[in-house]
Every structure is written in structure tokens, then in C-alpha cells.
């Protein structure tokens, strides 16, 4: 098990106290049972489909990952080196659990799968991501997505 106590003290303190915008609202969107939900993945692993432009530094925008993407096509361009990559190297589902969602959709536990999934660069200031995240919400709605699983690294 890896917990903050397993990390160098300076890194643990920085992660635990990472600044996040103070929000005035506490949105909490409800929806139908899982078996009628359309589920998408939004990752912060700096994922990029091979051949597309990697996320650089602290880019605030995102990359699209079509549901037809195969494991051999997905890379991570995250700037941080302070997380394990060997799990993702062996099995993309560790970070991008598309196969698990496909299985849950096939057995009827969830309604369906988004046509496209997305990734940001998690090292970016969230305030700079905001306009891109709100624009992404429009794309997700166009795809009838009503549930998003947020996958960090």
C-alpha cells in the first residue's frame, strides 16, 4: 500500500496541501439508475492518442480519446514523474479503464459508453482548465453522457 506517509515528507506535504479554487457552490447532479447511464472517462494523466500532439508542460486544454482507441495507441505525456507508470505500461485499464466499462455496458450494469473520452494534464492550474472543462461539458452532453468517472494519477 502506498500512502502519503510513504512519500518524501516535502512531496507528501505539497500533495496534501495542493491549492484548489474555493468554490461558492456545491453542485450535486443526480440521474437515472446506472443501467440507464451513459458513462465517460475524463483522465488527468495527460493521455494522448499516438501521433497526436502531446500535452506540454501545464497545457490547460484536453485531448480526445475515441472509444475505438486500442491500447497500443495510447500514451501518457504527463509532465510529472512522481507517479508510477509501470502499471499503465502493463495494462492501460490501471489509468484508463475502458475495457472495464465495455464489460459493464455489455452485461447491462451501465447503459452505454461514451463515444469519446478525454484527458487533461493534471499538473495544470485548475483555474486555467475551467473554460476548457465547461466547453468539454457541452461535448459530453452532445454525446448524451450523463455520468463521468474522473481518473487521476
Amino acid at each position: 500500500m502506498t500512502r502519503l506517509t510513504d512519500l518524501p515528507p516535502a512531496q507528501a506535504k505539497r500533495l496534501a496541501e495542493l491549492e484548489c479554487p474555493a468554490f461558492d457552490t456545491r453542485p450535486f447532479v443526480s440521474g437515472p439508475p446506472l443501467l440507464r447511464r451513459r458513462v465517460g472517462i475524463v483522465s488527468s494523466a495527460g493521455l494522448v492518442v499516438r501521433g497526436e500532439s502531446p500535452l506540454r508542460g501545464r497545457d490547460p486544454d484536453y485531448r480526445a480519446i475515441p472509444a475505438a482507441t486500442r491500447p497500443a495507441e495510447l500514451l501518457t505525456s504527463h509532465i510529472s514523474i512522481n507517479f508510477d507508470r509501470t502499471g499503465f505500461q502493463e495494462d492501460w485499464n490501471v489509468v484508463f479503464p475502458l475495457d472495464r466499462l465495455i464489460e459493464l455496458a455489455a452485461e447491462g450494469t451501465i447503459g452505454s459508453l461514451a463515444a469519446t473520452h478525454y484527458s487533461f494534464m493534471g499538473a495544470t492550474d485548475p483555474v486555467e482548465m475551467e473554460p476548457h472543462a465547461r466547453e468539454l461539458a457541452g461535448r459530453l452532453k452532445q454525446d448524451s453522457v450523463d455520468a463521468v468517472i474522473l481518473s487521476p494519477v
Binding site: 500500500m1 502506498t2 502519503l4 518524501p8 516535502a10 500533495l15 496534501a16 495542493l18 484548489c20 479554487p21 468554490f23 456545491r26 453542485p27 450535486f28 447532479v29 443526480s30 446506472l34 447511464r37 458513462v39 488527468s44 502531446p54 506540454r56 491500447p71 497500443a72 500514451l75 505525456s77 514523474i81 507517479f83 508510477d84 507508470r85 509501470t86 502499471g87 499503465f88 505500461q89 502493463e90 495494462d91 492501460w92 485499464n93 490501471v94 489509468v95 479503464p97 475495457d99 472495464r100 466499462l101 464489460e103 459493464l104 450494469t109 487533461f120 485548475p126 483555474v127 482548465m129 465547461r134 461539458a137 452532453k141 450523463d146 455520468a147 463521468v148 468517472i149 474522473l150 494519477v153
Partner: protein, 241 residues
């Protein structure tokens, strides 16, 4: 991640976040989060463990059906079994050391080809590819930096420093994938081998030292912060600048 969830929820889309750092999640108060006791980089737990990953996924998705929010933070109860070392794992053999670090690096890259081919046959994928360079080119580019002056970028559209960062990411991926061609090594086993036993580890540590000693602030920041993981800097007692 919590901020992204907030923005999406404000736009009317329900979210559930995997949390790897519980204090951070408690601080940011997302609508729904499942804290998992896994190492950073493994939000859904162990690789090649579909049943385990499915339990994580379902535990997270079930939070979407709860109505007693906002701010639901649940804990996933299982640990990642792959943090345990594989006692049968052995790293791939490395060649006898050449006269210089550049020689050693080139020889290792060549010697690991067979192991990496076995990895490809076993896993059907590689995460190498950010730099757009092949492995011998990556070895030469890293070695050129170690000669003491910044070489020109080998890739149009990438600065020399960005090309180096991506080349080093690819170099690490090549070694770690090659080393995991057999068995089920833990990330710690793989990291110990890379950083303690290989010319690649030595070269990347030297790049970090080169950056930290530079008068160029960008070089100092990129090579100082994005070459050697903080946990290795601490374990190896490396200078922090």
C-alpha cells in the same frame, strides 16, 4: 481532478472521482469520490487484474446512485496486491560496462532489444513514442546532453529541452517494459533496478545534476524537477539543488 468534477457538475453532468490523496480530496470537497489506497499512478489498482479493477469501478459508479450528497467520500477497502515484490523476478542481463557512460548506455539499449521484443509479444503494446525517436537515437541524444552543452533539437516543433524530456520518458519506458518482460515485478523492484543498476538511471541522474548546476532557469527547472522522481532523490540522497 476535484475542480474538473466541480466544473462538469455545474454544467449539469454527474461525476465521481477516484481519489489517490485523501487529504487533498477532503480539502477540495468534490461531489463524490472514492479514495483508493493505491500508489500514485494506479487509480484502478493492479495491472492485469480485471476482477479487482471491476470492483474499484463498481464501488465508484455506485456513488452516482447515492442521494445523500453533496460531498461523498468513500474508502475502497482492498490494497493493491501487486505492491508485493515478485520473488521469482529477475532483471534482464546487462552487458559489461563500456569505457564511458555514453558507451554503456548505447550497449544497454542494444542488449535490451530482445527483452523488449518479449515484452511486446506478451503485452502487445509499448508506451514509447512521445519523442518520435528510435531507441539508438534517444541514447545518442541523451549522451549529447551529457557532453556538457545543449544539443540542437532532433525534432521539428520541439524545443531541445522538450525533446529531451520526451526522450527520457521514452528511455525509461523502454527499460521498464524490457525489465517486465517476465514475471510480475512490483514498481519498486523495477525502479530499484532502473535507478541503481543501469547506465540509463545513471545518465538521467547526471542530466538532473547538469540542469541543477545550470544558469539557465528553464533548464534548471525542467531537468531538476522532471527527470528523477522525488522518492528516488530522497532514497539516493541526491542534492535538492
Amino acid at each position: 481532478m476535484s475542480a474538473l468534477g466541480h466544473y462538469l457538475e455545474e454544467e449539469g453532468i454527474a461525476t465521481v472521482a477516484i481519489s489517490l490523496i485523501r487529504p487533498q480530496t477532503e480539502n477540495t470537497k468534490p461531489p463524490r469520490a472514492l479514495w483508493v489506497p493505491f500508489e500514485l499512478g494506479r487509480p484502478f489498482g493492479p495491472p492485469s487484474a480485471a476482477a479487482f479493477q471491476r470492483r474499484v469501478m463498481l464501488a465508484a459508479l455506485r456513488l452516482l446512485e447515492r442521494t445523500d450528497g453533496p460531498v461523498l467520500i468513500e474508502d475502497f477497502p482492498e490494497d493493491d496486491p501487486r505492491v508485493r515484490p515478485d520473488p521469482g523476478w529477475r532483471p534482464p542481463p546487462l552487458p559489461m560496462a563500456g569505457p564511458t557512460l555514453a558507451d554503456r548506455l548505447a550497449e544497454e539499449i542494444d542488449a535490451l532489444q530482445g527483452s523488449h521484443a518479449r515484452w511486446m509479444a506478451r503485452r502487445g503494446r509499448t508506451t514509447i513514442g512521445l519523442s518520435g525517436l528510435d531507441m539508438p537515437e534517444i541514447g545518442r541524444y541523451v549522451s549529447a546532453w551529457l557532453s556538457g552543452t545543449a544539443p540542437a533539437s532532433p525534432r521539428e516543433g520541439y524545443s531541445a529541452i522538450l525533446a529531451l524530456r520526451f526522450a527520457v520518458d521514452d528511455l525509461k519506458a523502454y527499460y521498464l517494459e524490457a525489465a517486465a518482460c517476465d514475471g510480475a515485478p512490483s514498481s519498486r523492484q523495477l525502479g530499484d533496478w532502473l535507478w541503481n543498476d543501469t547506465a540509463a538511471g545513471t545518465a538521467v541522474i547526471a542530466l538532473r545534476a547538469f540542469g541543477l548546476a545550470s544558469d539557465d532557469d528553464r533548464l534548471k527547472a525542467v531537468l531538476g524537477n522532471f527527470m528523477v522522481p522525488a522518492v528516488r532523490v530522497a532514497m539516493m540522497g541526491l542534492s535538492t539543488g
